[in-house]
């Protein structure tokens, strides 16, 4: 890659896309929620016991009926995915620059991140 500024521009664009996408989805879900529950008491909705434990099927199932919780959860998933997309994109950018040390560094970060996000929730040791 000849232009040294292009990496910054691309990483910045990835972050901006993730932010705009997740903010739009979360705002939409928030408006749906506010419209449905405008004057309900907030305390019972915030109780720990009444929390919903989301799964992929509950989130995507709820989207079909435009359930506000599912829409917001989709937005949160997009938000959580943004840093991962940024690290993944860095690996590719360092690879096109043939910067071997940083390909290894960012690849290691990506693997540690994926392990922590996707594998540790299923290991009893980590569930406390």
């Amino acid at each position: 890659m000849k232009d040294p500024d292009s990496m910054n521009a691309i990483v910045s664009a990835v972050l901006r896309c993730g932010v705009i996408l997740s903010a739009s989805v979360i705002t939409f879900g928030g408006v749906l929620f506010a419209a449905q529950s405008w004057s309900a008491q907030s305390a019972p909705l915030l109780a720990y016991a009444s929390r919903t434990v989301p799964s992929l099927s509950s989130v995507f199932g709820g989207l079909a009926t435009l359930s506000p919780y599912s829409v917001i959860e989709l937005g949160v998933i997009l938000l959580l995915a943004t840093p991962v997309a940024r690290v993944l994109c860095s690996v590719l950018l360092f690879a096109t620059e043939r910067d071997r040390i940083y390909v290894l560094v960012t690849l290691a970060v990506l693997l540690l991140l994926m392990f922590s996000m996707l594998v540790t929730p299923f290991i009893p040791l980590f569930r406390g």
Binding site: N8, L46, Y48, P54, L79, T106, T120, F126, R127, G128
Partner: protein
């Protein structure tokens, strides 16, 4: 309190948290957690879940601007993320076996001790620029940015191994306590690696998103990320962080250091109070 009031209050609080967090290189949990637990009596687990969302939102929201402006040092950030992600996994694994009060007390003591170099160098604009040698040279841990007056500030990082060790500790704290530990990241870069203050806070901002994402999976799977809380927090933080990132270039390095020192003091007190169950 009714739903619309709760949403409005959390939205406004989050704008403030995102604004301050973007400038100081921290995640905003410092503001969001006590408001949720003290004002709204929300369970600490849900407050931490909201804090994880706020950290990632601050990081991505301000990061887009900082990276484009080349204020963030990408190489320094990526190198140090090795330490934070590895530390976060270790921290999450031992969380179940360690008393959190001991950790909170230890961490608040570290923050109070770190106030000393922070305040002693409160007037320092730009650190002395040492020669780039050893590991810093091999990893090209160097950079420059342009101030608003057009002057270019060049810098070289020192003691990368000490910085990396600091990040392992920061990552462990994140995994154990569910916070971004941006304060500890800024301290490590400032004290060990002698980066300009704005580079330290913006590079910390860059890293906290990945550190928080590392532990986000487990909080999300437990149902600790409540959509009712996450919605106003995420949108408010993104708006506040966007504005904060536009303001930072116009603040001097000394100004950022002062903001950070105040936040460090507040964070130390808050954590000590939490440890004593207040």
């Amino acid at each position: 309190m009714i739903v619309v009031e709760f949403l409005a209050v959390m939205f406004l609080v989050s704008i403030f948290a995102g604004f301050v967090g973007a400038i100081a290189g921290i995640g905003g949990g410092l503001v969001v957690i006590p408001i949720l637990t003290i004002l709204f009596k929300v369970d600490i687990h849900l407050a931490i879940g909201a804090s994880i969302v706020s950290i990632i939102a601050t990081s991505s929201g301000a990061g887009a601007t900082y990276v484009k402006d080349k204020m963030t040092n990408l190489r320094v950030g990526m190198f140090l993320e090795l330490g934070t992600t590895a530390g976060a996994i270790v921290g999450a694994a031992i969380a179940a076996y360690v008393d959190s009060m001991v950790l909170e007390l230890a961490f608040s003591a570290v923050m109070i001790v770190s106030l000393v170099p922070m305040i002693r160098e409160i007037g320092r604009a730009i650190p002395p620029n040492p020669e780039l040698t050893g590991l810093s040279k091999r990893l090209s841990l160097t950079g420059s940015y342009v101030e608003t007056d057009g002057s270019e500030v060049s810098y070289n990082a020192t003691r990368p191994k000490v910085g990396l060790a600091g990040m392992v500790v920061a990552g462990m704290i994140s995994g154990l306590l569910g916070i971004g530990s941006g304060t500890f990241k800024v301290i490590s870069m400032d004290v060990a690696m002698k980066l300009p203050m704005k580079v330290s806070t913006t590079t910390s901002n860059f890293m906290i998103g990945v550190t928080a994402a590392a532990s986000a999976g487990i909080y999300f799977a437990r149902g600790d990320v409540d959509p009712v809380i996450a919605a106003p927090v995420a949108v408010g933080i993104l708006a506040g962080a966007y504005v904060g990132a536009r303001i930072l270039p116009r603040v001097s390095n000394q100004g950022v250091r002062k903001v950070f020192a105040v936040i460090l003091a507040v964070a130390a007190i808050e954590m000590a109070l939490t440890a004593f169950g207040v």
